[in-house]
């Protein structure tokens, strides 16, 4: 309860901060939205040239990609700042200021740095999802329930990735290219899983479950979900828990140099 109150207070502060710099908030959100909706353009151009992903219409592929954007936005809002704040604090040696707080360091950083800059991306992704879904055959209430379950699992994977990246920054000090490594892995979650070889499919569904971020929830909405795919919810949760565990474990590696 105490943690919930603190989180709500931090949320309130984040929105007040955004309201104080309204133009910056609007422009920042717009730019984030535009830079994240570029990759569906590739899909549009592929279909405009008469080609296609076998077995998938353009709107179905766009649905996968818009769900991916939404999930990305949710994770960015909750955990997106953890990497940069941790990296900055570790590099400058100011992480002690976090450790001295009477709270879990991870919770404090996540709550105090809620990213309002991804709200535009979420709304844009939501709009794209609704538009794409309206051009496809949706599967009804059961599909929506499965979609929500898988969507939350996908967001957990994205948060897990953010936490792992942040944890690595305790040891790989000041390397601003850490996110690139994970961004490249996320690419496998933006397209129909069937275009990849079996080994990549297994990896994307079970080991680093990026397929759950966009592909599985969209498949659930389309009524094309293989029920065995629901098993991937388990590795998603494990992935998220692993991210939290790793971050807390890596705090012990912090050396406090330069503080």
């Amino acid at each position: 309860m105490r943690y919930l109150k603190i989180y709500m207070t931090c949320l309130h502060t984040a929105f007040s901060r955004a309201a104080a710099y309204r133009l910056d908030f609007v422009l920042g959100n717009l730019i984030t939205l535009l830079s994240n909706i570029i990759f569906p353009l590739v899909t549009v151009l592929i279909y405009a040239n008469g080609a296609k992903f076998p077995g998938w219409t353009m709107w179905e592929v766009l649905l996968i990609q818009s769900v991916f954007s939404m999930s990305n936005a949710v994770a960015s809002m909750i955990c997106g700042s953890i990497l940069w704040v941790t990296m900055d604090h570790v590099q400058s040696g100011r992480f002690e200021t976090v450790l001295l707080k009477p709270l879990s360091p991870l919770f404090y950083i996540a709550a105090a740095n809620f990213d309002t800059g991804s709200i535009g991306l979420f709304l844009g992704g939501l709009a794209m999802t609704i538009i794409s879904a309206s051009f496809t055959k949706s599967s009804g209430a059961w599909g929506i329930i499965l979609f929500l379950l898988l969507f939350l699992s996908g967001a957990a994977v994205m948060c897990g990735l953010d936490l792992i990246m942040a944890a690595i920054s305790f040891k790989w000090v000041g390397n601003s290219r850490i996110p690139e490594i994970f961004e490249s892995i996320k690419e496998f979650g933006k397209y129909p899983l069937g275009i990849f070889p079996k080994a990549v499919q297994v990896m994307s569904a079970l080991i680093i479950p990026v397929a759950v971020v966009g592909f599985f929830p969209a498949s659930a909405l389309l009524g094309r979900l293989d029920m065995y795919s629901l098993l991937s919810v388990i590795p998603c949760m494990l992935f998220f828990i692993f991210g939290i565990w790793l971050y807390n474990r890596m705090i012990k590696a912090y050396e406090g140099v330069g503080g």
């Binding site: 730019i31 535009l34 353009l41 405009a48 490249s184 990849f196």
Partner: protein
């Protein structure tokens, strides 16, 4: 004249060498590309394998050419990568640019020399490892068909990227905080440089407009020259024609950067130095 050029070369060599040594301390930054580059390439490979299916050509390109295009595009990125815009903006915003106005060397030349040193490091720690991975692991023939034209085209892309970014960085003289402009340019660059998809997939009208914008000269043209394409884009440019256009674009942008520099330096207040 020879003495002047020799002096310039010595200055460039000294700055480039120091930059190389400085960034060598962070060579694991560069080595990240050895993982990231091939992963992006693998994704592109499977996407285009699925998309081509039974089609022999799409957007005027054959499958093998498209795959080589993405390989070349990644490699060119390692040779031409630049952040002169960020650097200049930071110097202006913090007032540190003042120290450059006192030096007997034009800041643009200093920044270009820095970029050369930085990219020599990129050549060893990003370009060569990825070239070997593409060639040996994926079995791609990454040797350019027209080596001379390719080297010239990549050199133009290198300069184009630098001059455009320098012009963007100079907006900091007017706005102090030029992040927004830089991000918008990067956004457009991602779409229209051909890094995500070859420009031949865009409608003809867009391709024609792109001839007058800087984006394609930094990636699409050199990547197409690298693949040895006999007809580039809807305009059906030959390789010499494409490189000529690129050269003209570089000269124009270099002159533009000088005009902007002369105008914007008058606005520099050196606050915060």
């Amino acid at each position: 004249m020879m003495n002047f050029l020799r002096h310039k070369f010595e200055m460039c060599k000294a700055v480039a060498f120091v930059t190389y040594k400085e960034w060598s301390a962070y060579r694991t930054h560069s080595l990240v590309s050895v993982f990231v580059g091939p992963v992006y390439f693998v994704v592109q490979y499977f996407i285009w394998t699925a998309v081509y299916g039974d089609s022999s050509t799409l957007g005027g390109m054959e499958f093998q050419q498209t795959i080589r295009y993405f390989g070349a595009s990644a490699l060119i990125g390692y040779l031409t990568m630049d952040f002169a815009d960020w650097n200049l903006q930071m110097l202006v915003q913090s007032g540190k640019f003042l120290t450059f106005t006192l030096r007997p060397m034009h800041h643009r030349f200093f920044a270009l020399s820095q970029k050369i040193g930085h990219r020599v490091l990129g050549f060893f720690f990003e370009f060569l490892p990825c070239l070997l991975i593409f060639s040996l692991l994926f079995g791609l023939d990454m040797i350019p068909q027209h080596m001379g034209w390719t080297v010239l085209s990549v050199a133009f892309a290198f300069l184009m990227n630098f001059y455009v970014n320098y012009c963007l960085g100079m907006t900091a003289f007017y706005f102090v905080q030029a992040n927004g402009i830089r991000v918008v340019y990067q956004l457009l660059g991602n779409i229209f440089s051909g890094a995500l998809i070859p420009l031949s997939f865009f409608p003809e009208a867009v391709q024609r407009i792109m001839m007058f914008l800087p984006f394609q000269y930094t990636n699409y043209i050199p990547a197409m020259v690298w693949t040895g394409s006999s007809s580039i884009g809807e305009m059906g440019l030959t390789i010499p024609q494409a490189v000529l256009y690129q050269g003209i674009a570089v000269i124009f942008t270099a002159l533009l950067s000088e005009v902007i520099y002369r105008s914007s330096i008058k606005r520099f207040t050196a606050v915060g130095a």
